[in-house]
Symmetry: C2
């Protein structure tokens, strides 16, 4: 990895950590970007260059791409929902940064404006997933069934995150994800 890229990632981690700390202590709305800049030693201009907006400071996940990689390996071989469930478990369960992840999830679900930006991302992911499902079946455009399957896959993962984050993460995240997807079949 190039020096530039390493510096960039290091700065982003530093900013995210400082921000999460401040958000937890003083509240999301009450913490200004300027305060985050001061705490992390990075200018506000650079924070905006890296994250684009305040919400993404919390939402940014270095390992974002993992779930797509995991999914790609499974899409042909398993039914869509199972493939997505297993990819999610592979990507999110047993992370070595479990604690950071949990704190970020709590901030997300506690602050509507962050949740709103997360939903914008989810909308994009949903149409990409639907396109992927269509492609896996050799169709050029997603059918309404593809769209619905993609929507169910993502909404169910969201339920799992919501409950896991709320219950003090009593069970493992993998277990919660499994339980959520089980509930999609017996309706």
């Amino acid at each position: 990895m190039r020096l530039r890229e390493r510096n960039r990632l290091a700065a982003m981690r530093l900013v995210q950590d400082s921000a999460v700390e401040l958000f937890e202590r003083h509240g999301y709305e009450s913490t200004t970007i300027e305060a985050i800049a001061a705490a992390s030693g990075v200018s506000t201009a650079t924070i905006y260059r890296h994250f684009g907006n305040k919400e993404t400071i919390v939402l940014w996940d270095e390992r974002e791409g993992i779930i797509n990689d995991e999914l790609e390996q499974r899409l042909g071989r398993q039914p869509p929902l199972e493939a997505f469930r297993d990819a999610a478990i592979a990507a999110y369960d047993g992370r070595d940064d479990r604690d950071r992840f949990l704190r970020r999830l709590r901030l997300i679900y506690a602050n509507p404006s962050i949740l709103g930006v997360a939903a914008q991302n989810e909308a994009r992911n949903r149409s990409e997933l639907a396109a992927g499902l269509a492609a896996a079946d050799g169709r050029r455009r997603p059918t309404i069934a593809d769209d619905v399957t993609a929507a169910i896959a993502l909404a169910t993962l969201d339920v799992a995150f919501t409950r896991w984050q709320r219950t003090d993460a009593r069970h493992g995240l993998g277990r919660t994800i499994t339980d959520a997807y089980s509930a999609t079949t017996k309706r």
Copy 2:
């Protein structure tokens, strides 16, 4: 209805109409609240008192409550997803303001920030619906299955809206909703 309430609704309709017009013509981001205030003859302060934020000017729907009423009559008698589907059809299909509704939907799906606020609302609706499902079965708190069912119900309706709005509303909205919910069973 009191005079105050009538005035208020009339003002909100006027503001929403002016705003939709301006958004369509010049773009959502490029249209300032001040421009909407000037176009509708209502002060910016009052616009904020009525809608709370810019996004809600588009999202606000006078008949919002209808789907809940429809749902309440069905929840004991039908399986949850069918009840929700039929309630949605009753609430949204064949509206006499179909055209306004379509234009608003288009603005919503074309502008991420509006979609974000819509998602915040949907998050609230989802936990209310889950609570309702639990109550209908005599449980005090929603199980994970209730949460998942509520999530599927809302996500599926969202798929229906997305597709209907995109396809020039070729078929009736009721038809699109029916098709979407059909896809939830054969996964």
